[in-house]
Symmetry: C2
Subunit: 158 residues, 2 copies
DNA sequence: AATGGTAATGGAACCCATTACCATAAGGAG
DNA sequence: CTCCTTATGGTAATGGGTTCCATTACCATT
């Protein structure tokens, strides 16, 4: 009954959400679940379809609204891979496990998640962040690193 | 007359262009000029308006087409600062002078170009690029680094 | 100069992800 | 239960960006 906490720690955002004065409604929960269960780079419509399968009552508008909210609160990242639709990814667990960056093929749009140089990158980014923060008086909350190029497949058919 | 090479080295792309089998038409020249003369982050429409002032015959479609072409050839970078319209910037001179990254305010959209930690960043990026290139069999042509946050103004009115 | 073929162009029609609107439903405090 | 705020869904509208297609510019040859 009620399928409670199927996954350990799946509710870590519960507190954060209510703490900010937002309600953790069924729709929002469902959207977060979808994001948490998929390791893909989902578009708003992808998410809508997945949510819709289980909660047919949830509308596309709500999905967009919720995603915006989640991005604002920092729970979710929004990416642009150049194909005209935004992609969303769960920011990550409570303490930044499994953080990654992207490698995008400009021909076919394929996206590779890599974690290979993450540690060095993060280290440099943190330093840079501090410097920029001070110099330009910004409160930096986020960063984006992406590499662009041609994957082996696309390089073939030149 | 003909106002030839008003700016020293302004035509460095001439060769590259023809070398790839493309014609350097008036429209394309005009668009490149606009990009070269402005240090702003211009949207397609911005460019259209500026070009239009001098060459009223050039249409918006041509601007889009040309920009796409320029991005393909690597002469121009295309950026997304999150306000729904793409921005374009001349990639830069023949040998990467004045390369910079961006710092974006997520509230008001203000964009700061910084060059402060560029050297370290580039150094790391080059190394990362090599590694990724080999591991994932990509021919990497480009990268993107952006920081997001709140500028001092926007932080005030919380 | 006339010719022929390809690349480039412009304007309008179109596409489609995202947003705005608005009337309705759901939650929570008293 | 009532009031009032927050959240929701469906539909219509918005607006960058693209596609279509008939016309024009360019260039190399006769």
């Amino acid at each position: 009954m009620k399928a409670p906490h199927r996954r350990r720690g799946a509710m870590w955002w519960h507190g954060k959400f209510k703490g900010m004065g937002y309600r953790l409604t069924t729709s929002r929960q469902a959207i977060l679940d979808v994001l948490g269960e998929s390791s893909e780079h989902l578009s708003a419509e992808d998410i809508y379809l997945k949510v819709h399968r289980i909660h047919p009552g949830v509308g596309l508008t709500t999905v967009y609204r919720t995603l915006e909210l989640l991005v604002q609160t920092g729970l979710v990242f929004k990416f642009d891979f150049g194909d005209g639709r935004a992609r969303y990814e769960l920011s990550e667990g409570p303490k930044g496990a499994r953080h990654h960056h992207h490698l995008v093929c400009t021909a076919c749009g394929r996206v590779v998640d890599y974690t290979d140089f993450i540690d060095e990158e993060i280290e440099l980014l943190n330093r840079t962040e501090k410097g920029l923060s001070a110099k330009y008086d910004f409160k930096i909350t986020n960063h984006l690193i992406q590499f662009y190029g041609l994957c082996n497949e696309c390089r073939g058919r030149s």
